[in-house]
């Protein structure tokens, strides 16, 4: 079948399925009639809106658990799957989900643990931090410190008065978005001395942003995160860049960051806003979980050995 006929037929099927007036030119009238009549039989009823609502709520609130647990209230094929296939518990959001109301008991335990940890770290910090003589502080300081002040109202005009020059945030860092599960959700970032911020995640996401110093060891960061692959449409010869294509489906984020006394670890709090295709804010979610801030560790440059030129 010629390619053009194939495309015409494909388009005809798609138009019919979408309920748009189909273009039957170039298609055998008998085939077109068959497809039309077949689609006319497609009168299966739609889903119960109450079911769809309930399922959406379950999906949004549930942790990645086997379907047999998630839907255990109904005796169904979900629990009798003979293949024993279960849902892969591999949901790994770049930005960790905030606590869920339905997990209050677990949340309470986490809160208690976090509180204990923070008190311990806070006491340690207060005991040692103020006595710190300078940048050559003892190496026995805890790697993490108490979280920075929540940043919902982080933008402080006075912040710009601090110089970026020589700021300890400058350099390359490895973020851990789920410090309660170390190493599970990492990304890599560079704070440049000129205020530029770039972050790359192994998911196809890249952040660009800017930072400013708010203190000797504190920083504010704003960023826009986007999936560069969504720009693939630009490979088309007749592409058109629309505002939603460039600005939509992005995430804007704000963080306040505090670098520890050693200069090799930092913590951050803040929030992020997923945006829809029109650039509108879908929601505002806090970074971290149960009071635990994000953490990052400094990436040290690896010296490369210079190969000597063979002389013989």
């Amino acid at each position: 079948m010629p390619e053009r006929d194939v495309n015409d037929l494909d388009r005809f099927w798609e138009d019919i399925a979408a309920g748009t007036p189909p273009d039957a030119s170039g298609i055998d009238p008998t085939r077109a009639d068959t497809i039309r009549r077949f689609h006319a039989t497609n009168d299966v009823p739609g889903a119960d809106p109450a079911f769809l609502d309930r399922l959406l709520e379950d999906l949004m609130e549930a942790q990645p658990v086997p379907s047999s647990i998630l839907f255990s209230t109904r005796s169904s094929s979900l629990t009798t799957n003979p293949n024993g296939r279960s849902v892969v518990s591999s949901w790994r959001p770049i930005f960790p989900a905030p606590p869920i109301v339905g997990r209050r008991r677990w949340g309470l335990a986490q809160f208690a643990t976090a509180a204990l940890l923070l008190v311990t770290l806070g006491v340690g910090y207060l005991a040692v931090g103020p006595l710190r003589p300078g940048p050559d502080q003892p190496s026995s300081l805890p790697a993490a410190v108490a979280p920075a002040t929540p940043s919902a109202a982080a933008a402080t005009p006075a912040a710009a008065t601090f110089s970026r020059a020589g700021h300890p945030v400058i350099g390359a860092w490895q973020w851990d978005y789920e410090p309660w599960s170390p190493g599970r959700n990492l990304s890599y970032a560079v704070f440049d001395a000129d205020g530029t911020y770039v972050e790359y995640h192994d998911y196809p996401y890249v952040s660009i942003g800017t930072w400013r110093a708010t203190g000797e060891r504190t920083v504010e960061l704003v960023e826009v995160r986007q999936a560069p692959r969504s720009l693939g449409f630009m490979f088309e010869p007749d592409y058109a860049v629309t505002q939603p294509a460039v600005a939509g489906n992005a995430i804007t984020a704000w963080r306040t960051i505090e670098i520890d006394a050693s200069g090799t670890a930092l913590t951050a709090t803040g929030y992020y806003e997923p945006r829809d295709g029109d650039g509108g804010v879908i929601a505002r979610w806090e970074f971290g979980r149960s009071g635990l801030p994000l953490t990052a560790t400094r990436l040290a440059p690896v010296p490369t050995a210079v190969a000597s030129t063979p002389t013989s």
């Binding site: 099927w13 009639d33 399922l55 949004m60 169904s76 293949n83 849902v87 989900a97 692959r229």
Partner: protein, 204 residues
Amino acid sequence: MRNLIGVKPRPAPTVPTHQGGGGDTGLVALAKLDRRAFAPLYVRYADPVYRYCLRRLGTKEAAEDATAQVFVKVLAALPSYRDDAPSFRSWLFAVAHNVLVDVERARRPAHDLEDAALVVDCAPGPEAEALTAETRRDVRALLAAVAPDQRRVLELRLAGLSTAEIAGALGRPAAAIRGIQFRAEARLRLLMGVVTPRREARDA
């Protein structure tokens, strides 16, 4: 679209167009960041997936269970979704197809025998004449009267997928899908009485 969680699923029996399916990339990328951003995709595809399941399974309860399984699995597997798939819709219906295969296997063996009978009974036969005017307008009766591979392609066509997307969902080359579809059309022509069996035989 300010409050995704509160969005009511679209009640109208519309099928996403190819253009709509192609516009999912950004939403999928966003949903990888947080499952709550998956809501727009769910709203877009929950009803087509449910209808696909209902056509395959026949009962509301089974279709609801299967739909739930599909979206649980899709959410769990979303981080592994790659942009080089034909489309998110193709990937979604591949998951749905696999779930339905599992569900159908779990049913009583009679279904397998029924399928086996259909495999060998894919040529025009007396049952075509036996289809009443009523059953000729019943999509499930029509789908039951075509070979299983043809049925799979037609079901995905009804769900609005393109040839490339169907190929992706079923894991077969597009050329094979076109061949199956061609034979399915010929079979449907006969079953629905679009042309007489004599004409059908001559065309074949």
